[in-house]
């Protein structure tokens, strides 16, 4: 800047356009038909196998590998950020593992990766999720040949942690979508694709023991992924479930 000059200025000018702050776009276009895609599912809602070490509910950036053929009754939740009762009734409310297997059987999607991932995003350490956990999960999913990575967040911070991991997957060449109970957080954190059913945190993938709703949310999400053509798009899904805890 020159050292001596005159500038007409004004005090009290206000920026005229509201700008949500999001990180830079990451985008991997979906190039295959769904019926040929290998699909992965990850969740930051604290799901793990009953025989695995539970998460530290005060904050934990480790993850658990969940074989995609694990029977749903061998899964559980460890998460302090929301009411667990829905997941305790039906783990598919957070990790719709039974529905995903049905989608393969139906031929709606091609196959599932061998390994899903569970982590506990509550109070998540942004730096660790962005630079350690995220890249590790992305690398493993890519190695297993995932084309699509679907995800649920749990609580607010979980949506952030989840989005950070999805962005790593997108960057690694997989098309991702978060099924968001708190879409503003996913959007703000830079989720490449978002679908948003009207569900509470704790049953992000749909009402427990309501396979029709859970299946509808998954199919609509996958169909939306074929429609989305650029970063940051969101689609509201016509499913509503409220629970009073």
């Amino acid at each position: 800047m020159p050292t001596a000059f005159k500038l007409t200025t004004a005090k009290g000018l206000k920026s005229e356009i509201y700008v949500p702050w999001t990180p830079k776009p990451v985008w991997t276009p979906l190039t295959k038909p769904l019926s040929e895609c290998k699909v992965a599912f990850i969740t930051s809602g604290g799901i793990h196998k009953k025989d695995q070490t539970p998460f530290n509910t005060a904050g934990d950036w480790s993850y658990r590998e969940i074989p995609s053929d694990t029977p749903s009754d061998q899964l559980m939740v460890t998460h302090g950020g929301f009411d667990n009762s829905d997941i305790n009734k039906d783990v598919n409310a957070m990790l719709p593992i039974d529905r995903l297997r049905e989608l393969v059987k139906e031929g709606f999607i091609g196959s599932l990766v061998p390994t899903f991932f569970g982590f506990m995003g509550g109070g998540g350490n942004v730096d660790k999720f962005e630079h350690v956990t995220g890249p590790e999960i992305a690398r493993k999913l890519k190695a297993e040949g995932a084309d699509i990575v679907l995800a649920t967040g749990g609580c607010g911070t979980c949506h952030r942690s989840c989005t950070l991991v999805l962005r790593c997957c997108e960057e690694a060449g997989m098309s991702t979508c978060i099924i968001a109970a708190l879409p503003p957080i996913a959007r703000q954190q830079g989720a490449p694709r978002i679908t948003a059913p009207l569900v509470p945190i704790g049953s992000n993938a749909g009402e427990p023991n309501n396979p029709t709703m859970q299946m509808g949310i998954l199919k609509d999400t996958l169909n939306a992924m074929e429609e989305f053509d650029h970063f940051g798009q969101m689609k509201a899904l016509p499913y509503e479930y409220r629970h009073n805890v």
């Binding site: 200025t9 920026s15 356009i17 302090g80 879409p183 940051g232």
Partner: protein, 594 residues
């Protein structure tokens, strides 16, 4: 989203809201609070409500939850034990003030060019145990020490030039004279001529225009008088001034311009599909044009409408719209030939445009984002004749990389716009011919305008990143002190827009963004560098209203953008925006433009 210790400091006086479910007995710390920066989003989405009587984070910090608390619960005194008796609302700025009692320079001098004066020079030690009714007056800034950079101007106060340094002379790089010749009548005839204010257009040019491109299936020409505008029209693809080089090349010498008549290109395909994308302005011409906008016909202009029918299904391919523009250019070009030599005819007006480099003034650049996604999202850069087609380089073929034009090149018709995005937000050929932001920056004696950068908005995301990064490198090489970034349209090009602004802002260069957002085009992506923004909306409901050029840049918008840039360059804070489109903010800013 819990707060980190660092972010906590900045939000002590914001409302305390639980980020996640917390059990009774939790002693609240940073990790338990939701990040206040996302409250507006959460409130807008009905995920949360904020009531009066809530505690601030500072008050709630260290207190204990009486009962289990759900995520996004606003904390009130009855929910907590051990709430601190902190006086309400001490402004955050003060809490962040210097701890050692050193008086800070006024905030407007705290820009990057103004490092804090060395402690030995600027300290004002002050200790007060108790004081009431005390008035203290400090000089706004210490006397500059040799070798210390002088801070940039505060408010409207000029920084005096040191007496021994005379103001550096302006350097005129090139001069362009636009000579205006009036048109009082347009008629069709056997030959094209301009004589005595009458523009006669050879009727047989219509046949020649049909042969301009195999995709052109039909061409019709109609003269529309200002008094007879209630005529139905296909969507308006472009408004093209009649201007020809009389001397020199584009951007310098003399350009003869016909005032009082403009070409209007309209089009559809053989199947009757309008040639447009995202909004169309077919309809009655008295209703679908915002007369007087820089891109539009003026109130008194005679419109020469060239309506082109192109091959079915090519309206959304690059070749279709280009064929239509090529056809119209056959006719426009014949008119140019007729006004190249007007010896003995007196122009009614002469306008002189100078590309001036003003040494010693802050260097600024104007970055104009143009569409480059293919189909009709293309532009021709620097054609041979003003606003022409021939000789122009397509920005899509150039890979949408940043291309620098001199301000005079822009104002001499250096952009022929093929873009057919939303009618209300698109910048068409006439817009560039009298671009208000370029005109205002070029004549602003307080600034040194380095050039106008055109950058395309590519279709593919990684190309978007590529061109934005090239822009960043270009800006760095230009060593500018400030930048204005504009974009036409809205939607996916706002990704480019935010990346382009970040490419500049992240290099420490103050930047102002200019776009239509309002209601329909509200931004879905953004970054921290987009903190000084100008809204181009003119529609009462905030929509792309399909009225040609309604929501494009006007001279008033340009004045606000330039004032905002100067203010930002001077280090004076620009207040953060409301969390939704608010016309009163724009009105208040207009009042600050003198």
């Amino acid at each position: 989203m819990s707060l980190s210790k660092e972010t906590l400091e900045a939000h002590l006086n914001d409302p305390a809201v639980l980020c996640c479910r917390r059990p009774a007995g939790t002693v609240l710390s940073a990790a338990d609070f939701e990040d206040p920066t996302i409250f507006p989003d959460l409130v807008d989405s009905n995920l949360m409500t904020l009531k009066e009587g809530g505690l601030t984070i500072q008050q709630a910090l260290g207190a204990t939850l009486v009962n289990d608390g759900e995520a996004l619960t606003q904390l009130t005194p009855e929910l907590l034990d051990g709430v601190k008796e902190t006086p309400a609302a001490e402004p955050v700025d003060e809490a962040e003030g210097p701890e050692d009692g050193v008086e800070e320079p006024c905030s407007c001098c705290a820009g990057p060019a103004a490092p804090a004066a060395p402690a030995s020079d600027g300290d004002v030690p002050l200790h007060l145990d108790r004081a009431e009714g005390l008035d203290l007056v400090f000089p706004a800034g210490g006397a500059p020490v040799a070798g210390t950079p002088v801070p940039p101007a505060c408010a409207a106060a000029p920084v005096p030039s040191p007496a021994e340094e005379p103001a550096p002379a302006d350097k005129v790089m090139r001069t362009l004279v636009k000579k205006d010749y009036p048109v009082t009548k347009v008629e069709l005839g056997d030959a094209t001529s301009y004589e005595g204010g009458v523009l006669t257009i050879d009727e047989s040019l219509v046949e020649a225009a049909k042969k301009a491109d195999p995709l052109v299936k039909d061409v019709e020409m109609k003269i529309i008088e200002p008094s007879e505008r209630h005529v139905y029209s296909n969507t308006i693809m472009d408004v093209i001034p009649i201007a020809a080089k009389a001397e020199g090349k584009l951007g310098e010498g003399v350009t003869n311009v016909l005032s009082g008549a403009v070409f209007v290109l309209t089009g559809m395909d053989e199947a009757g599909v309008q040639v447009h994308e995202f909004g169309s302005c077919e309809g009655y011409m008295d209703e679908k044009i915002r007369y007087g906008r820089p891109g539009c016909p003026d109130e008194d202009d005679i419109m020469i409408r060239v309506d082109v029918k192109i091959q079915e299904g090519t309206g959304m391919e690059r070749r279709g719209p280009f064929a239509a523009h090529s056809a119209a250019d056959v006719i426009v070009h014949a008119c140019r030939e007729a006004i190249k030599k007007l010896d003995g005819v007196e122009p009614v007006k002469e306008e002189t445009f100078r590309d001036v480099r003003r040494a010693g003034r802050p260097r600024v650049v104007l970055v104009k984002e143009i569409m480059g996604q293919g189909a009709m999202h293309d532009n021709l850069l620097v054609p041979t004749e003003p606003c022409g087609v021939k000789g122009g380089q397509k920005n899509v073929d150039l890979g949408n990389v940043p291309v620098v034009l001199s301000p005079n090149e822009v104002l001499d018709g250096g952009i022929h716009a093929l873009a057919c995005i939303g009618p209300a937000t698109k910048e068409i050929t006439r817009h560039f011919f009298r671009e208000p932001m370029v005109e205002a920056l070029q004549t602003d004696e307080e600034l040194d305008l380095t050039g106008v950068v055109f950058i395309g908005s590519p279709q593919v995301n990684d190309e978007k990143t590529f061109v934005s990064e090239r822009l960043g490198a270009l800006i760095e090489a230009m060593e500018v002190d400030g930048a204005i970034v504009t974009t036409e349209g809205f939607g996916n090009n706002h990704i480019d827009f935010s990346e382009n602004i970040a490419a500049i802002g992240s290099r420490g260069v103050p930047v102002v963004g200019v776009t239509f957002a309002a209601y329909q085009g509200q931004l879905v992506v953004g970054n921290k560098y987009m903190d000084a923004m100008i809204e181009l909306n003119k529609d009462p409901e905030g929509f792309e209203n399909e009225i040609l050029a309604d929501n494009t840049t006007t001279p008033e918008d340009a004045d606000r953008a330039i004032l905002m840039l100067k203010t930002k360059m001077a280090g004076i804070p620009i207040e953060p925006p409301e969390h939704k489109w608010d016309e009163s903010v724009i009105e208040a800013n207009k009042q600050l433009v003198k």
